[in-house]
Symmetry: C2
Subunit: 889 residues, 2 copies
Amino acid sequence: MTQWVYAFGGGTADGESAMRNLLGGKGANLAEMAKLGLPVPPGFTITTEVCTAFYANGRKYPAALEAHVRGAMTALEAKAGKTFGDPADPLLVSVRSGARASMPGMMDTVLNLGLNDETAAGLAALSGDARFAYDSYRRFIQMYSDVVLGVGHEHFEEILETTKEDNEYRYDTELTADDWKGVVAAYKAAVQKALGKPFPTDPYEQLWGAIGAVFDSWQSERAKIYRRAHDIPESWGTAVNVQAMVFGNMGETSATGVAFTRNPSTGEKRYYGEYLINAQGEDVVAGIRTPKPITKQTREEMKEAGLSLEEALPDVYRDLVAVFEKLEAHYRDVQDIEFTVERGTLYILQTRSGKRTAKAALKIAVDLAQEEVISQHEAVARVDAAQMEQLLHFVIDPNFQRDVICTGLPASPGAAVGRVTFNVDEAERLGNAGVAVILVRNETTPKDIHGMRAAKGLLTARGGQTSHAAVVARMWGLPCVCGASAIRIDEKAKAFQANGRTIREGDMISIDGAAGEVIAGEAELVQPELAGDYETLMGWADQVRRLKVRANAETPSDVKAAKDFGAEGVGLCRTEHMFFDPERIVAVREMILADSAEGRVAALAKILPFQRGDFLEIFRIMGDLPVTIRFLDPPLHEFLPHSEEECEDVAKATGADAKALFARAQELHETNPMLGFRGCRLAIVYPEIYEMQARAVFEAAAELGKETGTAPAPEIMIPFVVTAKELAALRVRVEAVARDVQDETGVALVYQIGTMIELPRAALRAGVIAAHADFFSFGTNDLTQTTVGLSRDDSGKFLGAYVDKGIFEKDPFVTIDPDGVGEMVKIAAQRGREARPGLKLGICGEHGGDPASVAFCDAIGLDYVSCSPFRVPIARLAAAQAALPKMKP
Amino acid sequence: MTQWVYAFGGGTADGESAMRNLLGGKGANLAEMAKLGLPVPPGFTITTEVCTAFYANGRKYPAALEAHVRGAMTALEAKAGKTFGDPADPLLVSVRSGARASMPGMMDTVLNLGLNDETAAGLAALSGDARFAYDSYRRFIQMYSDVVLGVGHEHFEEILETTKEDNEYRYDTELTADDWKGVVAAYKAAVQKALGKPFPTDPYEQLWGAIGAVFDSWQSERAKIYRRAHDIPESWGTAVNVQAMVFGNMGETSATGVAFTRNPSTGEKRYYGEYLINAQGEDVVAGIRTPKPITKQTREEMKEAGLSLEEALPDVYRDLVAVFEKLEAHYRDVQDIEFTVERGTLYILQTRSGKRTAKAALKIAVDLAQEEVISQHEAVARVDAAQMEQLLHFVIDPNFQRDVICTGLPASPGAAVGRVTFNVDEAERLGNAGVAVILVRNETTPKDIHGMRAAKGLLTARGGQTSHAAVVARMWGLPCVCGASAIRIDEKAKAFQANGRTIREGDMISIDGAAGEVIAGEAELVQPELAGDYETLMGWADQVRRLKVRANAETPSDVKAAKDFGAEGVGLCRTEHMFFDPERIVAVREMILADSAEGRVAALAKILPFQRGDFLEIFRIMGDLPVTIRFLDPPLHEFLPHSEEECEDVAKATGADAKALFARAQELHETNPMLGFRGCRLAIVYPEIYEMQARAVFEAAAELGKETGTAPAPEIMIPFVVTAKELAALRVRVEAVARDVQDETGVALVYQIGTMIELPRAALRAGVIAAHADFFSFGTNDLTQTTVGLSRDDSGKFLGAYVDKGIFEKDPFVTIDPDGVGEMVKIAAQRGREARPGLKLGICGEHGGDPASVAFCDAIGLDYVSCSPFRVPIARLAAAQAALPKMKP
């Protein structure tokens, strides 16, 4: 029979950390910690299989579950020495979600479960603190009502406010036990009013309600959005953890906190964390009170008033440090630990691998390897390749004169510039419209993440470095300043005030997430230097990987950046990008308007020197690294103005004939330009276009050859091929130009001619196409569009719904669709190599910079991936990670 | 060593009719006829391999060719008893092309080759007819100059006109031998002037020039266009036939003619042909003089003045009939024979399978089978399936009151209505723009075919039933009236006159190609009744074929027509076609504008009764034949007006909000609608659309079930699927509606749910998709668009160039691309059937009515093809022809 429930606590456990898939991260680690002898409050975990069965079975629990839970509660009562619902000595529990992958802040939690009028009275008597008991009780009612019963905050707020007004209190802490008792009664009445039935008093009814709420929350909109953002499959499900309560809010020797064994922002080897005296755990994470550092050193550096944990509760601190050492040694990684101190006794509520910035991830991985805790290969595997992008984020130019408005906590590194926005929906709207915005909030909640995602940076007035805003920002590599307490937001006036200055909605500000600074106006941003840990880890990665990494680049600055990022060549130089320069576009349009080959040749002759210059510069930068030049690809109408008005403007500016321009634009208009008159089709009809481009390439190569003694060996790529005949016909023409240039210049030219495989027919016909190709480069953007029948420009209307509904596991434009597009690539690679052993194979779609897609390319034996310059480091690391499992230990 | 030249004549030959690929049709048949002992002037054939080698080798002949030709000439001289270039008794030859497939009028011919001043004098002496000799000489110069030297007609016309004016002659026949001598001298001077060098006098130089011209003509634009229209590969090449001349223009006992052993227009078993006394062969075919019938009976029926061949030269006629009998018995098919009578002696110059109208093809095939000359299976194989379309051509409504302008020869059956056009380029322009035109010409030449192809019908003032216009029109199934001699065309005035009436360019006329009538105004056309031979042959075909044939139809009239044409079901009922009705489009737009599911449901409820009515009517017509209903497929913007003006118009007419309409149209606009938000994607986001359609289908089925006792079993087809999940999700919804309707009506419903395979990903994933599909229907239109990356709406810009250059063998939207799209279909069929044995497979793209594609579908084991109603007979016959080779003899 399936075991639906796993117990832990009292130095033992049914599970262990390896059972993460079944118990969720939290449950598995609670079990592991219990086995390690750490002070974990006892409890049990309802497995993720229950969640999966629950949804598979029309939201019904497995039949045996109830008995299993009853049994586990009885065992828990024995370990805790208290009984659930016992008015004399009541066992209270927390109910929390715990998915396989950590989803911070996304899943709902209920604390203090088991309280009712009788057990609250018992708790008051037992603790000798009636105020604490009834405060806990009212918190429980409010939390349970919100999460389980759907009776939100707004039903209760006025009750508390009225009580405070009636008593002329300013702070919650002024309320007496009797006040709280009154609040409890009013809360229960509010629930009765809202639901038409009373708040449940039976502890088991409460428990089942909370368990159900956790499972329900797996399908909440917030959870879905998070899963989509983090590629977490719906099928994984969540576990539920039921655990005996301990109280951090039982007075001045009680506390609660969150700590990391190393700094998760910088990676520095130093304990890092925050705590609050006399508080429950949610108070730290929610960011309502600003917590204090745990170490004295940090407190002093931050010039914080109040005591660190080290100073306030030195014995507890000593115990905590012992736990840090034990856990980091055991897990061989930085741990993110939640703890509670109940009347001087330390309890560990959770440990998990600490989320970290890319910079910290690098430093920690390199440090752990150098401390010989992990191997170099493990270090390479430890760093999330996608997260590396954060490292490439901009910082404020050191020479920029900062006008600092105020400071806050340096919650997530990187700098951002944008317009101030207070509303999350507005942030989403503007962000999606391409406007850079900085979202400014008192604090953020999981309900805000759609707006946070669309912002360039986050600024909050409240909350610490482990607040919701900070955690989410670090995960996404979003610059963030938290707890900038000088800020007063006036939502009505659409402005915030800080240190006597007023910043209005729409004003431009800058934030420095590494310094915690909020800066007036538009700061100048620069690319950070990559060195140190980055170089070390990348060196280890480069030793491991098999795949070469190239970049998609055509401007000199991009080509330079690509080389600096470690690109081993240009995999895609899009020549059409060179046609839009104002000096050139006139000649391009002249070419398009010409009605004879002679006219086109004459116009192309004007473009030739520009193109030759472009290629010469690229060849100079790349030296002996390969450069793949794709010949003209887009349909010609992309170079023409479209409306009659635009044509007239262009005509006026360039002396062209507006009517002819408009007529030709109309003639070239396409219903489906993606499937239109483009790529090699243009050159089959107008061969002179590619002949000009070939001449520019070869003349540039010859010129550099004369300069340096060795001409570069360009790779010429013919796009949009569907038949071997197209490639054969154009190959002949390019070869003829090469012979001509060789004869004219006397420079021996070496080159390759290959093709993009970007249409299903090309993939199927790869065997015969390979006879004429020195290389294939998979254009997986267009191959995705045609294989899946999905226009990248239009799919926004439904792609979200498709991912939400689980029809697509992932956005196929981000991660290669392995079953469809991936099979096409596999077929082409296999047929191409069968026909031409050793055929060079690469990928130059945007998938080349996506770690999962890089792993796919490695698995099917491609030779290289090519991606945007800023993703080259990601691809290098991802390629190494893909190679690691195949290496001998 | 390769034999480049094959001799024939004198009762023997090197070749035979089976060597058609090597010798071309004409050469193979000349060899065969020589072997049969028929009176064939001796000669030899230069093989098609020479042509292929010539083009493969940069237009150079094989080295041994010259020696082979010299040897063959020597042997020919021996057989003819004359010597090439001998002034005393000169051998003259014709040089003609002869491709593997007949290409009438497309290749150039030179007659009387071998004439120069000396041999012309010899011919004059020998024949005793100097006028004939010098007329032949000037004809030779003119023909040779035009075809070989590129010195056209226009260089010579004035010379002849001046000679006639100077002598006050009216007709060419009035010129004397000396006059012609003068014309010859002037012609030679004209050539000297045009080329700067003299007309070649050496017979061998003449011969090689003519051979070269034949090979050159293989790559002429006309030949290319013909090949494209008839799917003749460029690689086949043409042969060259060199044959001793015989003269039909040696006086009143000489003649030339063309004959068919049966009537090629009706198929009637009766000799059919035309001849001219004292003429050369080209005179008949070119249609310059109107020839006479060969049989007395025909002459009498046609009320022709002058004598038939039967009357004029009865001995020759008797010999000719013997040849007819011998040849038809030998070839077991109708023969198309060219003959010449030289001073009472019959020579056969050519025989070939006679081109025929579809009606004649049917009758001849059925007659030959009933005469037991061929088997029923051979009869089925004999009829060109594509040509069957002719049978389905419209005829003039018998009740229409005809206003006959004039009559001509009934050259090609069928009726056409269109605007009078005299210019071929204009005909092409208008025809391509969708304007129905009737091309009116004195006569047509191969140079006119681009305009002929674009016309709805042809009308010529001159020429007989074997004239160029007639032959081409019959081949293409184009209605044609020839030799309407009452017509006087005035090209300058852009009008023609006939029987005192003036018809101007742009006027609407009608022609009846079966009656030979030219009718004023726009006649009403009706569908002809299909019976007799058609029914007989189709019956034989239906016994043979394995593939089922369905139709793509949704209007009651189309569904009815489809059933009448023998469709065994509806393979594709496009429901969106039912949405455009003015009454419905308002509700459709309301649905599109609704911003909630409720709003959409309310709008859809208005469409429901219409859709239900549509389906009910279709089910009633089709009875127990299957009907496949495709749910809504196109993107929603197709139902909205596009420009701001259109939106305002629609808003005014319907009371909608113009701004909202335009905003929604803008919002729904797509860059690539082919790859957009369409098909099942709409239903994944707006499930209520398919739910309404499912309800309409099931309610209609239930209603008919109540009426008749058996509800039809609809096949519901979900379009544009790329994942199994889409189909699974929508299947659940459709099944739920079926259950609801079953519960509401009490009628038990049987149905199938399947999908279109129209995207490459769907083809690759067919195995998992099949788990949820009762059938697959291949949407090869969209599958071609995506597999080949080819937009049907846009590819016109380059598809012609692609076919001309041989990059595509055929237009992939007409005949399925077997290597690309075909492989996708094969992969899907195989994976689908592996996962679900017996899965029903069909095709519903337009390829379903193309014979080559039908053969492909048969070969890969599909269950049915579905095509437009008018192509159903074609598909039935093509399916039988595809099955024949696999049958036991």
